[in-house]
């Protein structure tokens, strides 16, 4: 297989005159990039390069064949130019150097990049009790705290590593929540995913720390196809954090990740996301990331719980529905979301709660804020199966509009086929309250700060679900994002 190194000479020029985006920098590391295009050979080469077991290659090829028969969906409330899937390079990795023994051996440039993003891989992080598995350009470079987790039997590693070391776990669970043909982008991901995170929590274990991964798109014009699989065994608990920022580029970048969560009896997974990919040029919308993600959790065991919390503040297009399949009895699904759009951003996001077991409960709190000319849609499905006795759902989705050219939509789907269900849904859309702003301004708070205050209050219910560090980050992010939108 032929590979080439991408040229980075012009990138710094492109970036020099764009300083609005704080994290818009590019690390100059020779990338190992496949030529653009997708066919069976590319998939075979990808699989061979990663030394994958045979079942993985079969899985990929099956997904690829399925993908070829599928049509790109068009029902979402977003508009974007057609994606040329042959114009994407499906593998990019920092060239494998010799195996790293300690952090000192990690490329200093890489470390600097993480520093700018606020992730430090050094010992201080250990004291702050967060294990960071930094995914840089789809390939994990360093994992800290592994030992400490290993002592409890917790596996937290990159997906490729897991494929080599725990293939039987992956073979058993991969694709059980999001089948390869689930949707267009999930099929594509199943065929070409490069790396991601793998977490396994053994029975009766409470993870001693919050597991965190920072994703970063780095090589220009490289689609990111992450795959995350989290398995939480009986009576265990884990909280997982995911955060992303992306450097500034002019060609749209496709990000089609798949996240699968599985909880066995009485297990609990809490999955939190703060997403701040580059959202494109404020005026023209050029260059933003397409965030087409399939996230789904399955509460397999009785009494288990999956909780999604997301703060979506970036990407040109966000299109994702973190979902819960409540299969076991007495299972609980939760979804807390704040989606902020400004500039020309588009978001079509929400959740699906599929009630199958008895006494299943789900709650959905969704807050959408749209500013400038952006479009923000909530789309959610609550489906109660015939045998889901005493299912209970509460949904609240509120939208706030800032500016008269933005749009806010809600598309809830509620399907019930069972007489013991109790279901409530409420939604409201309104402008930011002039009275509240007046009250604050009267007390000497500037208009901009007043708006930030009101919006943070509007999102409070969701923010308080986030782990502390994320909560602070999320509030800062909203303030930063709204800076130029209101005035």
């Amino acid at each position: 297989m032929e590979t080439k190194s991408s040229s980075r000479s012009d990138v710094s020029e492109v970036l020099s005159d764009k300083e609005e985006y704080k994290f818009g920098f590019v690390t100059d590391i020779e990338a190992d990039v496949f030529p653009k295009g997708l066919n069976e050979d590319v998939i075979r080469a990808l699989s061979a390069k990663k030394k994958e077991p045979k079942f993985m290659l079969d899985f990929r090829l099956k997904a690829y064949k399925k993908w070829l028969t599928m049509k790109e969906p068009d029902w979402q409330y977003c508009k974007y130019p057609k994606i040329d899937y042959q114009d994407i390079s499906y593998y990019a990795a920092p060239k494998p150097k010799k195996k790293l023994e300690s952090l000192d051996e990690v490329d200093p440039e890489l470390l600097e990049t993480f520093e700018k993003l606020g992730i430090s891989l050094d010992e201080q992080k250990r004291i702050s009790n967060v294990a960071v598995d930094a995914v840089f350009d789809s390939v994990s470079v360093a994992t800290t705290h592994k030992k400490k987790l290993m002592e409890q039997g917790i596996i937290f590693c990159s997906f490729s590593e897991a494929l080599l070391e725990y293939p039987e776990l992956i073979e058993e669970y991969l694709g059980t929540v999001v089948p390869i043909g689930d949707n267009y982008f999930a099929a594509l991901n199943s065929a070409v995913f490069t790396d991601g995170s793998f977490v396994y929590i053994p029975p009766d274990t409470i993870s001693p720390m919050e597991l965190s991964t920072y994703f970063r798109i780095n090589t220009e014009e490289t689609g990111q196809f992450e795959r995350t699989l989290i398995i939480c065994s009986e009576n265990s608990h884990v909280s997982y954090l995911e955060g992303c920022t992306a450097p500034q580029f002019d060609t749209n970048q496709l990000h089609a990740a798949v996240v699968e969560l599985i909880t066995l009896e009485n297990a609990e997974i809490k999955y939190s996301t703060v997403q701040n990919w580059y959202s494109g040029d404020r005026e023209t919308g050029a260059g933003g990331v397409y965030n087409f993600v399939t996230k789904r959790g399955k509460c397999v065991g009785n009494g288990s719980k999956i909780s999604w919390t997301q703060v979506e503040a970036g990407s040109a297009i966000t299109w994702k529905y973190p979902s819960c399949i409540l299969q076991g009895d007495n299972t609980v699904g939760e979804f807390y979301s704040v989606a902020l759009t400004n500039g020309l951003m588009q978001a079509d996001t929400g959740t699906k709660m599929i009630h199958l077991g008895n006494n299943t409960r789900s709650s959905i709190i969704s807050k959408g804020i749209s500013a400038d000319q952006s479009n923000n849609s909530y789309r959610g499905l609550v489906k109660v199966g015939k045998n889901a006795k005493n299912a209970r759902n509460y949904t609240q989705c509120d939208s706030m509009l800032v500016g008269d050219k933005c749009g806010a939509n809600t598309f809830p789907y509620i399907e019930t086929a069972n007489s013991s269900v109790q279901l409530e849904h409420e939604a409201s859309t309104s402008k930011i309250s002039e009275e509240q702003l007046f009250y604050l301004e009267q007390r000497g708070i500037s208009r901009e700060n007043a708006i930030t205050l009101v919006i943070n209050g509007f999102c409070k219910e969701v923010f308080k679900q986030l782990p502390m560090e994320f909560s602070v980050e999320a509030q800062k992010l909203l303030t930063l994002k709204l800076e130029n939108s209101v005035g």
Binding site: S399, N409, I414, Q422
Partner: protein
């Protein structure tokens, strides 16, 4: 992909276009011919829907795919329709049989001064009306409304001139005779113009004499500046019948619409209502109640367009579903960018009484203006155990207590119906149906 129909082996599209060709050949040229042609063209554009179409997610369109045989319009006498006439409307009654206006069955002696009723054929001679109808068909988004345009041969045009405040209530009675056997369709078409500052009260009632007919109707209501319209649509079809209707409302400046829909339950009922709030100050109110049992289905598809500032809309649906029945409400409020100061509410309450019943809802909001207040809500639930306990503790039997609670669930909508005779009839029928449930 369309499925083939069992009898002919053709796709529904092909079958329909084939029978349209025959229809056009058989009939003599009339004012309706060009409308028929546009309707067929629009149908070709839209295609025959299946459940993958967002508009028909919950509706099984296969069951009406064979019903393109136009009803011939058989003889019906006054005695046969007497039971469908509301008291007080006997002398302001307009009767359509299988989509065709029947002068001999209608009675217009009580109509207010100036209120004019003409047949569709005559009305189409007026270029203004013709233009409106043709352009509405060209922009049609509902396949079945396009099919109506393709096949309708007659209709009704009701003109309420400016400043006329009607004392009488007009009842439009659409009778399906079901005389010519299975699967016949009728295509009633009604156009009502309420002039500036006029006030009108209209009841539209669907009823059938026998059989599993398919009635596919389209109604247009043009409400002038400052005018008001009170409308009740009542579907009292035969149990095997299928009833699809499209109601289009155009609301002008400061106009008011207050509507109600009552479904008595039939094999398949689908109401598509499209309201356009064109100018400032217009007001739209809509309530709907359905009581379903056995395999009955009622589907509502609502689209309310706020196109101007300072308009308000309010919708409230209540469905009681029992046995294997199904109800769905797909309501969307669209607020255009200029429609500032919009106020909009939407509430859907479902009372689910059986494990085999379905209640689906899609209360959507599409908002492109910022200074608005829009809400929607949806609930699905059962009879409250505590309320039931309260009543039983006071000596009521379970059956009576349940009847009382289900009836009171529907009562809040029934009470809003402006016409006493309709209300009375609804109360009596609902009462019967809910009591039977408790057996």
């Amino acid at each position: 992909m369309s499925s083939l129909t069992a009898e002919t082996g053709l796709t529904p599209e092909a079958e329909l276009l084939e029978s349209h060709k025959k229809f056009m050949e058989d009939k003599s040229s009339s004012n309706f011919s060009s409308l028929n042609k546009i309707g067929a063209q629009q149908f070709e554009k839209l295609g025959y829907p299946n459940s993958k179409h967002e508009m028909f997610t919950f509706v099984n369109t296969k069951s009406v795919a064979t019903g393109f045989v136009s009803a011939k319009g058989s003889e019906v006498n006054k005695g046969q329709i007497a039971e469908f006439v509301y008291s007080g409307c006997e002398r302001s009654l307009v009767v359509l049989v299988d989509g065709q206006y029947r002068e001999n069955l209608s009675d217009l002696s009580d109509l207010d001064n100036g209120v004019k009723l003409v047949s569709g054929e005559e009305a189409l001679a007026d270029s203004k009306i013709r233009e409106y109808l043709e352009s509405s068909v060209q922009d049609e988004n509902d396949t079945f409304a396009a099919i109506n345009a393709a096949f309708c041969q007659d209709g009704l045009f009701l003109d309420i001139p400016a400043k006329v405040v009607m004392q009488s209530t007009i009842q439009i009675l659409a009778i399906s005779s079901g005389a010519n056997g299975e699967n016949e369709s009728s295509y009633p078409r009604v156009l009502v113009r309420v002039g500036d500052l006029a006030e009108a009260k209209i009841i539209v009632r669907y009823a059938g004499l026998k059989g599993n007919y398919f009635v596919n109707s389209v109604q247009d209501f043009l409400i002038g500046n400052g005018a008001g319209l009170g409308l009740v649509q009542v579907e009292t079809d035969q149990k095997e019948a299928r009833n699809f209707s499209k109601t289009r409302l155009i609301l002008n400046r400061d106009s008011r619409f207050s509507g109600a829909n009552v479904s008595y339950g039939s094999a398949l009922t689908r109401c598509h209502l499209e309201a356009r709030l064109k100018a400032t100050g217009s007001e739209f109110r809509f309530n709907s109640v359905g009581v379903l049992e056995k395999k009955e289905q009622v589907h509502h598809y609502m689209r309310v367009y706020h196109e101007a500032a300072q308009c308000s809309s309010d919708m409230h649906f209540k469905n009681i579903v029992n046995d294997q029945s199904r109800s769905s409400v797909d309501g969307t409020v669209i607020v255009e960018q200029d429609a500032q100061l919009t106020n909009s509410d939407q509430l859907i309450n479902n009372l689910l009484l059986s494990d085999e019943a379905h209640a689906d809802s899609k209360p959507n909001l599409i908002i492109n203006a910022d200074d608005v207040k829009c809400t929607h809500g949806n609930t699905v639930g059962q009879i409250d155990e505590e309320q039931l306990f309260y009543l039983k503790a006071r000596g009521l039997s379970e059956a009576i207590a349940k009847t009382l609670l289900t009836k009171s669930f529907a009562a809040s909508i029934v009470e809003t119906i402006e016409f006493p005779s309709v209300r009375k009839n609804v109360e009596e029928t609902l009462l019967k149906k809910l009591e039977a449930n408790d057996g």
